[in-house]
C-alpha cells in the first residue's frame, strides 16, 4: 500500500561559476531539463512548478522557464525567501504533492551572481541637504556604517563572534580552519565554482572583508541553477524499477521563520529558527543527528558554519568548537559537513543553493558521487538560511 511519503525522483545542478553566455532562463532550463531527464519523466508529467530567482523575483522565472521548456498550463508558484529560496521552492512542490493536488512536481532555483559585489550594504546614499528624519528609526542620514554594519560578511562575522562570546574558543584561526576544510573538500567537486585547496596561511592572509571573515571565508558569488522532481509514493510505485531504485526519500521537509527573541532585530538570530527546524525535522524523519552520514549546511561565511554545528545538534550544546577541532566535520570524520565544498568554494547562486545542497546529498545516497563519495551513505541533511529570516531543513534517505 502506498504511504504519504514524498520522493525525489530526479535532481540536478548545473556547473556553478561564471556562465557569461547563459542567461537565467538558460540556466533554469538546463537544470529543469536535467532533473526531468534524471527522473525519466517529462514536463508533461508535472502537476506543479515552483521556481525561484531572488534577484529577478518580480519577473516570474517560472513562466519564463515554461516558455522555453513547456507551457503546459500547470500552476506556477514563483517564490522568494532570501537565501532559502531554493528550499522554499522545493518545499512548495512537496506540499502540493503531499496535499494530493498532483502526483509529481518540479522545483527550480536559479541565480546569476558572477561578479556581484556586496549584496547588502554595497551602496550608500549621500547625506541629504538638510537633516530630515526618515524611516522607522527616524534617521536623518544613512545609518549603515554609522550604527553597525549591513554587509553580510559583517553580519555573519558577528553571528560567529557572538557564539565565541557565549561559549569561548571562536578565534580567527578556528574560523579560517573551517574554511580550509571546505576549500579542501571542493577539490573533489567538478561542479564547484572554485575547486582549489587553500592553506590556512593563504586563507588568513587573504583580503580581510569583515574580521574575522577574509575573502575565501565568504560565500562565492557565481552563476548556477538546480532543479528537482518530486513524486508521491503511490505514483513512484507505478514507475520502472530503475526509477524506484534511484529515488531518494524525503524523510523531513521543514521551513521555519525566526521567533522573536531579545536582540533579534539588532543582530539577526539565525540560531533559534535553525534549532527549531532541525528538531522538527529529526522528529518527522525519526532520525537522530548521530544517524547522519553527511550534512550540507549553510556556510555562507565560515563564521556561520560553526554555529550551525550546534544549531543542527550535531554536537552537544555549546560544544561546536571542540566538535570541529576533533575533525568530525572533515569528510573523513564522523559527521562530514559540506563535502561539496560548501558555499565558500562550491559557490552560492542564491536561489539555486537550497536545491543544490539536496542534490549533493542525493548524489551520495545514490552512490553516484564518484571521487568524493561518502561510502555507504544512507541518511543526509541539507540546511539553508535566508536572512530575514527563513530556515529550510530537509532530511533525505536512500531507498530501502
Amino acid at each position: 500500500m502506498a504511504s504519504d511519503d514524498i520522493w525525489i525522483l530526479g535532481i540536478t545542478m548545473t556547473k556553478f561559476g561564471k556562465r557569461p553566455d547563459d542567461d537565467v532562463v538558460d540556466l533554469a532550463a538546463e537544470a529543469a531539463l536535467g532533473a526531468l531527464a534524471d527522473g525519466g519523466v517529462t514536463i508533461q508529467d508535472m502537476g506543479v512548478l515552483a521556481a525561484g530567482n531572488l534577484m529577478g523575483a518580480a519577473a516570474g522565472i517560472g513562466q519564463q522557464l515554461q516558455k522555453q521548456i513547456g507551457q503546459t498550463g500547470i500552476p506556477v508558484y514563483n517564490v522568494a525567501n532570501a537565501c532559502a529560496t531554493g528550499a522554499t521552492a522545493l518545499r512548495t512542490a512537496i506540499m502540493a504533492v503531499k496535499a494530493g493536488e498532483c502526483d509529481m512536481g518540479l522545483a527550480v532555483g536559479v541565480e546569476k551572481l558572477a561578479g556581484a559585489g556586496l549584496l547588502s550594504g554595497g551602496s550608500r546614499k549621500d547625506d541629504a541637504d538638510t537633516w530630515t528624519p526618515k524611516g522607522r528609526y527616524g534617521a536623518v542620514a544613512p545609518i549603515d556604517g554609522r550604527i553597525g554594519t549591513e554587509i553580510m560578511p559583517g553580519v555573519f562575522a558577528q553571528v560567529g563572534m557572538e557564539y565565541g562570546y557565549e561559549h569561548g574558543g571562536a578565534t580567527f584561526e578556528l574560523f579560517a580552519r573551517i574554511s580550509e576544510k571546505n576549500h579542501s573538500h571542493s577539490t573533489l567537486n567538478p561542479l564547484a565554482a572554485y575547486s582549489k585547496a587553500m592553506t590556512l596561511e593563504q586563507i588568513m592572509g587573504d583580503i580581510m572583508i569583515a574580521y574575522p571573515n577574509t575573502r575565501p571565508m565568504c560565500s562565492a558569488n557565481c552563476d548556477g541553477a538546480a532543479a528537482a522532481v518530486v513524486v508521491s509514493d503511490a505514483k513512484l510505485k507505478t514507475l520502472d524499477p530503475d526509477q524506484r531504485r534511484r529515488a531518494v526519500k524525503v524523510s523531513a521537509s521543514v521551513l521555519t521563520s525566526d521567533p522573536w527573541d531579545e536582540g533579534c532585530q539588532q543582530l539577526p538570530n539565525v540560531n533559534t529558527l535553525t534549532r527549531r527546524a532541525a528538531t522538527t525535522a529529526y522528529e518527522q524523519a525519526g532520525v537522530a543527528p548521530e544517524d547522519l552520514d553527511l550534512v550540507e549546511l549553510h556556510d555562507c561565511f565560515a563564521t556561520a558554519e560553526l554555529v550551525h554545528y550546534d544549531n543542527l545538534q550535531l554536537c552537544a550544546p555549546g560544544e561546536a568548537v571542540p566538535f570541529f577541532e576533533s575533525g568530525a566535520t572533515w569528510r573523513t570524520g564522523s559527521t562530514p559537513v559540506n563535502v561539496s565544498g560548501g558555499l565558500e568554494s562550491k559557490g552560492h547562486p542564491i536561489a539555486a543553493t537550497g536545491i543544490a545542497n539536496i542534490w549533493e546529498v542525493c548524489h551520495h545516497l545514490r552512490g553516484e558521487a564518484g571521487d568524493r563519495q561518502i561510502e555507504g551513505a544512507k541518511v543526509g541533511l541539507a540546511h539553508v538560511i535566508g536572512l530575514g529570516s527563513a530556515c529550510g531543513v530537509h532530511i533525505l534517505e536512500k531507498a530501502a
Binding site: L118, A128, T130, V140, T149
Partner: protein, 133 residues
C-alpha cells in the same frame, strides 16, 4: 551653539544622552523602531524606557570593506546594555583585534557627524571602551 538633531530618533540628546526603546507594556519586549505591534506577543501598547548607557560587548566585527563613503576600517558590534541588545559602532579604539575584545565593557558616547545646509548639527552615537579596561 548650532541646533542639534539626533542621527536616529531613539537617541535622546541633552545633559545625559541615552538611547530610548519602545517597551511592550504587556510582555516587556523592547524595540528601537517605530512599532505597529509587538513582535513578541502581538499587543499594541508601548512605553518609552531609557536604556542603560553602560554595557558589555557581546559581539563585533571589524569592517574592512564597505560601500564607498563609509570610512574603513571600523568596528561594528552588539552591546548588552543591562539585558537589552544594542547595535552600534565601537569608537575611540584602534580598530584591530588587539584592542577590541569580546566581553569588554563599553559606554555610550555621542559625537557630531556633520552640519546640514541650515547649519543644524546631526549627532551620532557609539560605544567607547570604559577606561577601567
Amino acid at each position: 551653539m548650532a541646533e542639534q538633531v539626533p542621527l536616529v530618533d531613539y537617541l535622546v540628546l541633552g545633559d545625559e544622552p541615552h538611547l530610548q526603546a519602545n517597551e511592550c507594556t504587556a510582555c516587556g519586549a523592547r524595540f528601537f523602531d517605530r512599532r505597529n505591534a509587538c513582535a513578541s506577543c502581538g499587543k499594541t501598547e508601548f512605553t518609552k524606557v531609557a536604556i542603560p548607557t553602560e554595557g558589555v560587548l557581546r559581539s563585533f566585527t571589524i569592517v574592512a570593506f564597505a560601500a564607498p563613503g563609509i570610512p574603513v576600517p571600523f568596528v561594528a558590534g552588539i552591546v548588552d546594555c543591562g539585558g537589552t541588545h544594542v547595535r552600534g559602532n565601537v569608537v575611540d579604539v584602534e580598530p584591530d583585534a588587539d584592542h577590541v575584545s569580546l566581553g569588554m565593557k563599553v559606554k555610550l558616547t555621542t559625537f557630531p557627524i556633520g552640519e546640514d545646509s541650515a547649519g543644524t548639527e546631526a549627532i551620532g552615537f557609539g560605544f567607547a571602551p570604559l577606561e577601567a579596561n
